[in-house]
Subunit: 151 residues, 2 copies
DNA sequence: GTCAGTGCAAACTTTTTGCAACTAC
DNA sequence: GTAGTTGCAAAAAGTTTGCACTGAC
């Protein structure tokens, strides 16, 4: 299953690169491979470390930034912005989900809600071609409700 | 009406400061006043300029950052994160709304949808005390749909 | 062989922090 | 008088950019 998805997204990347006159560099495939082995969110620093340590492939931060822009444009990655750093996650075959963010400890929890999804999908947007969306719900997580302390 | 709201939020700030043992400095009230004269979103740089130019009050950027944290904690301001800079907006008596963000030109449009609001409010969150939420819908705005160009 | 892509380091931007001066209490 | 606040400047953190080198085509 997982390998299947990786093959598919590589195929999508290949088509995207060809169509846009970009080169099929090993860096791009290695980055895509690594991203699709990460389940949740990641930021550039985390991706950098993971590639340096777990994968044998070392790429520069600049290339990570460049490549992520490509992957977003290719529809393979989406970008989130909570906290100080940009967070990313793979988007192909990744279930749409929502985010609960604790305003005290910063913990991010994902959840799904079919009714909510339908409500958002059914929202009448005039003259706007939706690609994806993000719902962030802020509040206090269970742990922080008792002790309202700031980190 | 507007003045009424400003008086009310100042009152809320006063109570918040007293309860938490903070001082009632003129900077804090001037910042609150300025924020509540801004209708939409703003970032720290914009707030800084507006205070320097339109208001007679000059405060340092450091104080703006410090004060905004207080105001968020007091429930008078909420924070958004689209684009590179943190965006803020006043939250007292400010209608909950959603955001459409154009992935091509970056334009942010606000809209309201009662059904959506109810769906979000009705979403069953276990062990999470909601304070507020943000829905960001990404896609192409009318202008950018024709010419899919990147800025 | 050519030019897009990469790595590196420097530059930039936004936000945080340390510290001396100030002031609300 | 004395902490809490402010302003400034330096530092930190994240991202972008310039440029020489490399390698995909």
């Amino acid at each position: 299953m997982e390998e299947n998805i990786k093959d598919t997204v590589k195929q999508i990347l290949t088509e995207y690169l060809q169509k846009n006159g970009h080169r099929k560099t090993p860096e791009r495939y290695a980055i895509l491979e690594t991203i699709y082995s990460i389940t949740g969110h990641f930021d550039v620093e985390g991706l950098y470390k993971q590639m340096a340590e777990k994968e044998k492939f070392r790429v520069s931060r600049a290339t990570l930034y460049n490549t992520i822009v490509l992957l977003i444009d290719a529809g393979l990655v989406i970008k989130h912005q909570f906290g100080n750093t940009s967070q990313y996650e793979r988007s192909y075959k990744n279930e749409t989900h929502h985010h609960m963010i604790c305003t005290s400890c910063g913990k991010v929890t994902e959840f799904e809600d079919e009714a909510l999804k339908e409500a958002i999908a059914g929202s009448p947007l005039r003259n706007f071609q939706v690609s994806h969306y993000s719902l962030y719900i802020y509040g206090l997580c269970a742990r922080c409700q008792g002790s309202k302390r700031k980190k």
